[in-house]
């Protein structure tokens, strides 16, 4: 058991290192682009025409794009010093120091911006998971204990349909048809939970319902399969033959065993959930991390793009790690083998 945990923890180190290389290199394929964009913006914003020549090399030096890629990576990781072009001092400031970099536009710290936008995305994600489980578990369990009845078929068909329906289309439909039929459209003006809890929930409920139902589809299918498998086990037959009633058999014996693998599915669904939240934040104009990323992509603000990718990838990794570590505690069969 201890060996398993230590091995699992040690395995993160190479994975994390490779992850930083992938995330860093992804956005460094065309380094000139951000500079072009900045030059264009500066010309448009301040100089109204472009009679003024901008010193490209100076700009690259200021942004730290003048050095070879491996030096940039070293600075981004925090193992090589970064030169601050305002104060002229150099210091170590990278991932190892907890810094995700600085935006090319506006010089704000990426990690601070992510933290300030985290509540929106976190609330959306947690609501979606809760809604997904609230739908998936009862339907999946009922579907299994009433296998091959009409209710089972309806539940399964709904799940397959749910997996096939694009969530962005569902969102468009929700925005469109109620507006045409009843003149009602979902509220779009963002209010923080601390200012107006009800208004805040009113805004988030529709996107989280859409994300939640998408998650429910896969979870429901897994719950059903695992329930069916659990119900076929010997200890269930023993429970029946002891004369226990259905409720006790299902709740105390079957569900307890069936739900263990569902825990891992939540971890594995995280990448999908994050992708979905980016789309929902875009459609419902929510000020979360997803819209931060989309904005940064539009401006080619590479440090922000890398920062958000790194943040979300680490989040997924930690959650999958946690579900792996929790697993042996939930399932003694794994613990002793």
């Amino acid at each position: 058991m201890r060996a398993y945990i230590i091995r699992r923890l040690l395995l993160i180190i190479p994975t994390l290192l490779i992850l930083t290389i992938i995330v860093f290199l992804l956005v460094r394929f065309i380094p000139g682009d951000a500079i072009d964009m900045m030059v264009a913006m500066m010309v448009a914003d301040h100089l109204g025409g472009g009679a003024w020549e901008i010193d490209r090399e100076a700009l690259e030096r200021m942004l730290g794009l003048d050095v070879p890629v491996y030096v940039q990576y070293g600075r981004w990781m925090g193992v090589l010093p970064t030169l601050d072009w305002v104060t002229g001092e150099s210091h170590f400031k990278g991932l190892l120091q907890g810094s995700l970099g600085t935006s090319l536009f506006g010089r704000w710290a990426v990690e601070e911006r992510i933290i300030s936008r985290l509540p929106v995305s976190l609330e959306l994600g947690v609501l979606a998971i809760v809604i997904g489980l609230l739908i998936a578990l009862p339907v999946g369990i009922y579907s299994a204990i009433r296998q091959d009845t009409a209710a089972d078929y309806i539940g399964r068909t709904a799940a397959v349909m749910g997996m096939a329906t694009p969530n962005f289309w569902l969102a468009l439909m929700v925005m469109l048809y109620p507006a045409i039929w009843w003149g009602w459209s979902p509220p779009m003006e963002w209010v923080p939970f601390t200012e107006d809890p009800l208004g805040n929930l009113g805004i988030l409920i529709i996107p989280s319902l859409i994300l939640g139902t998408a998650m429910a589809a896969a979870t429901m299918r897994l719950t059903r399969t695992m329930m069916l498998e659990a119900l076929r086990q010997d200890y269930i037959r023993t429970a029946w033959s002891k004369g226990l009633n259905e409720r006790v058999v299902v709740v105390r014996h079957a569900i307890k065993n069936a739900l263990i693998p569902v825990v891992t599915l939540i971890g594995m669904q995280m990448p999908l959930l994050i992708g979905g939240s980016v789309i929902m934040e875009h459609i419902f104009t929510l000020p979360g991390i997803g819209s931060l990323l989309l904005n940064a992509l539009k401006l080619r603000d590479y440090p922000v793009v890398s920062g958000v990718n790194m943040f979300y990838a680490s989040l997924v990794m930690v959650i999958i790690l946690l579900t792996d570590l929790i697993y042996p505690y939930l399932d003694p069969r794994v613990r002793y083998s």
Partner: protein, 300 residues
Amino acid sequence: MSDATGIPLPVIEPKRRSRLANLFIRLVKEKPLGTASGIIILIWTLVAIFADVLTPYPPDEMHLADRLTGPSAQYLLGTDHIGRDFLSRLILGGRLSILIGLSTTALSTVISTLIGGASGFFGGKFDIIVQRVVDAWIVLPGLLILITIMSIVGPGIPQIILILGISGGIGGSRVARGAVIGIKENDYFLAARAIGSPSAATLMRHVLPNIMPVVIIIFSITVGGVILSLASLSFLGFGLPPGSPDWGSLLSGEGRLYMEQAPWLALWPGLALTITVYCLNMFGDAMRDLLDPRLRGSEG
């Protein structure tokens, strides 16, 4: 839930009819829903191939007098904001979505088989290193990476096939790896190694033929998801060039501004997408059940 446990081999039946014919007969007999889905996909594919003949109007022809008209005998699904026949655009969009989806999935399946197969076959240090890269790739949320790369290389058909294919291929390689590790435990494989059969020969004669069912399964259960990813990318503006009539793009861009006046513009592409992906998933599930029911695992 570990990937290293390996997937048991499909049972090899004595050869009377060809394996393909056998599979087809079992599909029709045992999986009516899967067969029906397969027929719908076949129809869609034919429509995609013969799109030029089937479209009532050239998809880019503007009928400015008939802007945003509803469904009628003249325009079966109505027209868009510059008077283009929507049915024609939807058919052409089907061609783009389905053909790009199929070729992307083909590419990703080949990549999955190559990476997973090599990793499982050679094992050792090579396997350990490859698996760490795969681990790192899997925790990266797919859509985030796709929009990041697409924003750098710019929208376009070759880019999207390449990037969606590689990205999906790395993620799917674990199934192929598991299958190859399973094959390595079989007696015929050990016997081949024992008589000193060279790696290349073992690979071609023993591993490749036996991994084929798994390859077909990987293809058929991922193609629906690939078409959805493609549509999501296009919807966000990172897929095909703006103005393309693929189903994702039809739901975004300029069209979105007119959806309240002409809700059919939003309805049909989404329905077409949902039905296609539903059929692909049903067909994929049926194929998986027929070829190797033990792969069911997470979905029931």
